[in-house]
């Protein structure tokens, strides 16, 4: 308990630094990402839901410190998130999430259900590639003509993607996207919905099951606790 208290204090006082490895009680899992939700949030949520202890390493933006440049040279793909397990890295958010989820019953109850989890996630990725052209301007991360991008990318991508999710929820009837228990794609979609709905209230009002799903997923006790404890960020 004394050791655990010391570790907690260090985590609070050095939020953006790497911890010394002399603390042998440190978790085996280290997640490296920027200090935003972004592509790392679903990884953090899957780890939290699975009850896996992990070091939530948040590196400052390149303009605010050298840590990312230093870490980048040690990665295979020069990107984050990266999960490090006893020193071995796994890159790419979905690869990481699937790896953790599969070991904790969060990847679908059968191989076919797992494939549908993957399919919905990849469909979201296609949506996000298009939608982010509008969203990142709306959130102020990029310059651009917000109204034009909304017309060219925001509305069309929303109207291609969310009817599929609405229908999927109607078909499963379980409140979950695949089968009758929570999977990692529930976390992925609920996170996206929260980001979009808070950036632009009303934008998803045509999709009542989608909005209900977000509420349901975010009231799962471990997810609720995580959301309450994480930094307050727009995305």
């Amino acid at each position: 308990n004394v050791v655990n208290v010391k570790i907690s204090i260090l985590i609070i006082s050095f939020p953006n630094s790497l911890h010394p490895s002399i603390f042998s009680a440190m978790p085996a899992y280290k997640l490296y990402y920027f200090d935003i939700r972004g592509r790392g949030e679903v990884v953090r949520q899957v780890l939290a839901l699975a009850g896996v202890e992990f070091e939530d390493i948040r590196l400052p933006r390149p303009s605010d410190g050298p840590q990312w440049a230093e870490f980048k040279s040690k990665t295979s793909f020069g990107q984050m998130p990266v999960l490090e397990i006893d020193g071995k890295q796994i890159p790419q958010a979905f690869a990481i999430v699937r790896f953790i989820a599969s070991q904790h019953g969060l990847a679908g109850a059968t191989p076919f259900e797992a494939a549908w989890v993957d399919a919905i996630a990849d469909q979201w990725k296609d949506f996000h590639t298009e939608f982010s052209k509008y969203l990142f301007v709306k959130l102020g991360f990029r310059e651009g003509n917000e109204d034009l991008l909304k017309a060219e990318h925001g509305f069309p991508s929303r109207d291609n993607f969310f009817p599929l999710i609405e229908q999927q929820l109607q078909e499963t009837g379980s409140g979950f996207l695949v089968g009758d228990s929570v999977t990692w794609v529930d976390l992925l979609i609920a996170e996206a919905v929260q980001v979009i709905a808070s950036a632009e209230p009303g934008f998803l009002d045509a999709f009542p099951e989608v909005l209900k799903h977000e509420q349901k997923i975010h009231s799962i006790s471990r997810i609720k606790k995580w959301i309450e404890s994480r930094p307050d960020q727009k995305r």
Partner: protein, 203 residues
């Protein structure tokens, strides 16, 4: 039953997995002109679509991973399988950048090939292929991109590299380990057999 266009494109890896495993399947090829009539019956409005005992599964990588798991081409440990997924997703990001030039080569779009080579293809290549070359080297140049046995990401990359060699010869001359890995993959007897007998297509 696999439903896709009459070409290799985003369906070919699934066909290869069936042929490598010896599991029979219906190779349902839809002519371009008939595609609009089928689109509404696809869960996500796109192909490829896999049907397993009549139950549909969309999205190419979900299909590849499902078949690879069933047939034993997913990696020899959960950690290896995660790396197969990671390399595939990194490849997908690269492919999204270069596909606009490939579509011009395939005849699906108009474009200035030389300009696109300079503006689109070379930057995309120079971001991705050095990383892939190192991955192949770190894997002891053993003829696979991840682990010591054939996985679906080997097939994914080998198919794409074959397309590049056909339409853009010399494009990957700086990546000899990638090229030798692809050569070894394409010489696997059951795969070579399929490659030699499959229908021809531009894409």
């Amino acid at each position: 039953k696999l439903t896709y266009f009459d070409g290799r494109g985003r369906g070919e890896v699934a066909r290869q997995l069936f042929h490598l495993s010896g599991v029979p399947f219906e190779d349902n090829r839809i002519p371009m002109a008939e595609w609009p009539a089928h689109k509404a019956s696809m869960p996500f409005g796109k192909m490829p679509l896999l049907e397993v005992n009549g139950k549909p599964l969309p999205q190419s990588y979900a299909i590849f991973r499902y078949l690879a798991r069933e047939f034993g081409f997913v990696g020899d440990s959960p950690f290896a399988a995660a790396w197969v997924d990671a390399v595939a997703d990194q490849f997908k990001d690269y492919f999204d950048e270069i596909k606009s030039l490939l579509f011009v080569h395939f005849g699906f779009a108009q474009g200035d090939k030389e300009k696109m080579m300079k503006d689109v293809a070379i930057p995309a290549r120079d971001k991705f292929f050095p990383m892939l070359e190192k991955i192949a080297k770190d894997n002891h140049n053993n003829g696979h991109f991840v682990g010591a046995s054939l996985t679906w990401v080997d097939l994914l990359i080998a198919e794409h590299v074959s397309v590049l060699l056909k339409y853009m010869p010399g494009f990957l001359n700086d990546y000899p380990t990638v090229l030798s890995t692809v050569k070894k993959i394409n010489s696997i007897p059951k795969l070579k057999e399929w490659i030699d007998k499959r229908p021809d297509s531009t894409f």
